[in-house]
Amino acid sequence: MLPQLFFAYFAVMILGLALVVITRRNMVHAVVWMLLMFVHIGGLYLFLNAEFFAVIQVIVYAGAVLVMFLFVVLLLNLREEQGLPIFIRGVQGRVIIGLILLLTLVSAAGQASKGQGGRFSIDYIQRQTHIKVLGSVLFNDYVYPFLIMGFILFVPMVAVVVLAIRRSNGSS
């Protein structure tokens, strides 16, 4: 009974906070609610025996990605645009399409059944600790995707420097 209750709490909080995020007018408030949502998702990962992801969720999403958002919102000095609508015209139609998609996907998710179990049982992961297991899989079976990932992370670093630096000869 207790696991279900915990899951219900996390599910309700995550969905509710996501709805709060997408309806905020003030973007700083949206980012703060989003932060709370990320922490809750991290809590949910703890129930899935993935403690490394629970921490990474907070370090990467909350510590890096959302801070970047907050910086941009503050740097551009975005005022609350009072009076202007926050949603586009024809919002009802898109919401209805979204809800139809939601019904379809939820009914599909309700019927999903899991396939054959692999060799990484919960017991094994708890004995070896999650980080060790994930690291051994990542660096043995997926080492080339990992290297490509490093390259993918390197390209935006160059791109950000190239795009963000103002040209000094007055053309901006």
Partner: protein
């Protein structure tokens, strides 16, 4: 024990919330935030399936999703900053220079 289907339903609902946010908000920053919500929804389902099928591949994929999301958001936000320098707005319908106004 919570069944796998509950996690999948949560993931799908969160994805749809993000999708609706992406389709209906005017501000580009809010659209980026909605994309983040969608990526998180994907991650929940990947990690849940990885846990229930006792296979680490889902978690490896989730790891790559997190890294790609960070990289993509960095480029998106810096493009937004350079667009903002040319035209001080973050509302998507204001970027309509290529729209043919003659007709």
């Amino acid at each position: 024990m919570v069944p796998l289907n509950w996690y999948l339903m949560l993931s799908v609902s969160l994805f749809i919330v993000g999708l609706i946010g992406f389709l209906t908000r005017r501000s580009i920053i809010m659209m980026f935030l909605s994309v983040e919500i969608m990526l998180n929804a994907i991650n929940i389902s990947l990690i849940a399936m990885s846990h229930y099928m006792q296979d680490m591949r889902g978690q490896v994929l989730a790891f790559f999703v997190i890294a790609c999301a960070a990289a993509g958001m960095a480029v998106g936000l810096v493009l937004l900053i350079s667009a903002y320098r040319n035209k001080p707005t973050v509302r998507l319908e204001d970027f309509d220079l290529l729209k043919d106004r003659a007709f």
